[in-house]
Amino acid sequence: MTDDNMIQIRIHGRGGQGVVTAAELIAIAAFKDGKQAQAFPSFGVERTGAPVESYVRIDERPIITREQIYRPDILIIQDASLLDSVDLAKGADKKTIVIVNTAKAGGLKINLPQANIHAIDAAKIALEIIGKNIVNTVILGAFAKTTDLVSLASLKSAIQEKFSGNQGLIDKNIRAIERAYDI
């Protein structure tokens, strides 16, 4: 339902993990890189811990469709424990790139080519640098590195814009993104 050049990204996580913010940051960064972008959430029940999805589209031309993302080019999984209960890979194919936050890279219950699955221990980096187990921005460092869809500079600029007014938070998140990018 989309043109060939449009990139579709689906992010899975739990309420409170910044799933929606992650999508917004990618869209802001892509826009700063001169592309057209769209980000929107799919809220389930409004409570912490419930599965949440968010979506990003990136394209050269204006994006007009409003449908959710059923055939993702990129899957970002903020919480690998969701794999036990939700079919996260739904609609993904052998070309879909998966970026997943997990401490143990092996044995993930995801039926996609192993070569496309990029595991990152984002929780470890988040605890070390941000001081909280909030992994959304950390994963974006890995996302930028793996996919090259947004530049690191634009991602940092997006963080500054989104968290404007809280310099401490900006600094920590940028350091966390850089660490994930440099792995």
Binding site: M1, Q38, A39, F43, I64, T65
Partner: protein, 397 residues
């Protein structure tokens, strides 16, 4: 093209809030309700941060919020509110009074399903509950259209002394980030001057008047007819203001050419061939999904036209008829249902078509309570549009 405008990527709610700030109302009152909340939170924050000089009145309910803007508007100042769903239903009594007293209030409705069952997600059932109240009802497809319609809404309201509601799909517009241009306060002022009602048009001890007085059977009918006549006559003003807006606030927005039969006049937007086999008609953001779904089909699937209704009340009957009269099949997609009948927009389209076209008109109900309307559903609707459909056809998947 105009280089004085800069595109930014914003959440829809932020885009609307920034536009309202630049429109500079004197009084804002609202009560937070999902999915409208971000709009009024932003407006409250602009005020708290000293970026705006409107009075922001926190209300104890939507009924109070509507009453506060009604009262403020009656004193002759520019006013704004926003709500959704149950909030709009709670406002209903005041909504009718605002129109009846000819108060130029502008309000955003972030469209959401109504209870029961409770549901916080998008459809357009809420606005249908106040469809007949005498407001101008505009619907936006995307952020830019929402921004533009809000600016035009104040000009229309204050010029015509009619309230205007701008409808934006909850979440789909309010919680989505996409590129948009927000005209500055200076740019807006060139199109929309400060509100200066004439003496005798508002509550003023120098020129005492009564608003909302008792009207006996000897007068009530004529007063209601006058409201109806003025609302109907506003179709022409809306068209003129659309041209005027685009001339003065000349945004470098890439407009779709709209195909051979393309038309865009502030009331409706049509894209497609001059003689389509099937026309799809809808309100609001789903038009984007329809355009995306139809574009790859154009070559193989017959001639398909897309008609977006931007102004739902007053109903632009003749503009719509000029487009639909040549179609064989008409598929109306409503995100609401007149329970016990068909979709509200479909019923209106059937009334307009009465005696003027033999087209096969079907009422499709989709997207209720936040159900995603997919491109696949649009293709299914196009197929079904060629059949005889009785009553409302619900499209769930």
């Amino acid at each position: 093209m105009n280089n004085n405008y800069k595109q930014q990527i914003l959440e829809g709610s932020r885009a609307i809030a920034l536009t309202i700030k630049n429109i500079r109302p004197a009084v804002i009152s609202a009560y937070p309700i999902t999915p409208q909340t971000h709009i009024v939170e932003d407006l409250a924050k602009f005020k708290a941060d000293g970026q705006a000089d409107y009075e922001y009145v926190r209300a104890e309910s939507e009924f109070a919020a509507a009453s506060i803007v009604a009262g403020a508007s009656a004193t002759g100042v520019r006013t704004y509110s926003a709500t959704s769903s149950q909030g709009l239903l709670l406002m209903a009594e005041v909504i009718y009074n605002i129109a009846g007293m000819r108060l130029p209030v502008v309000m955003t409705c972030a469209n959401r399903a109504v209870s029961a069952p409770i549901n916080i997600w998008n459809d357009q059932q809420d606005v249908m509950a106040v469809r007949d109240a005498g407001w101008i009802l505009l619907f936006a497809e995307n952020h830019q259209e929402a921004v533009n319609q809000h600016i035009m809404a104040f000009e229309l309201a204050e010029r015509l002394k009619l309230p205007v509601m701008v409808n934006v799909d909850g979440y789909v517009i309010t919680h989505t980030y996409e590129p948009v241009i927000i005209p500055t306060a200076e740019q807006i002022k060139k199109y929309l001057p400060d509100y200066q009602p004439a003496a005798g048009q508002f509550l003023d001890t120098q020129y005492p008047i009564t608003l909302g007085a008792l009207a006996t059977p000897a007068h009530y009918l004529e007063i209601r007819q006058e409201l109806h006549d003025d609302l109907t006559a506003s179709l022409k003003t809306i068209e003129q203001e659309y041209t005027n807006f685009n001339k003065i606030i000349n945004l470098p927005t890439p407009l779709s050419k709209g195909g051979a039969g393309g038309l865009d006049n502030g009331l409706i937007e049509y894209s497609g061939p001059k003689k389509p086999d099937t026309i799809l008609i809808a309100l609001g953001s789903v038009i984007g999904t329809i355009k995306e779904a139809v574009s790859p089909l154009i070559k193989g699937a017959g001639r398909i036209g897309i008609l977006k209704i931007k102004c739902f009340r007053p109903f632009p009957a003749s503009a719509i008829l000029s487009i639909i009269k040549s179609a064989k099949n008409i598929a109306v997609i409503d995100k609401a249902i007149s329970l016990g009948h068909i979709g509200p927009l479909a019923a209106d389209i059937k009334a307009v078509a009465q005696g003027k076209t033999n087209a096969n008109i079907s009422s499709f109900i989709a997207g209720l309570g936040g159900r995603d309307i997919t491109g696949e559903m649009i293709k299914k609707i196009i197929k079904l549009a060629g059949k005889k459909n009785n009553g409302a056809v619900f499209i769930g998947r």
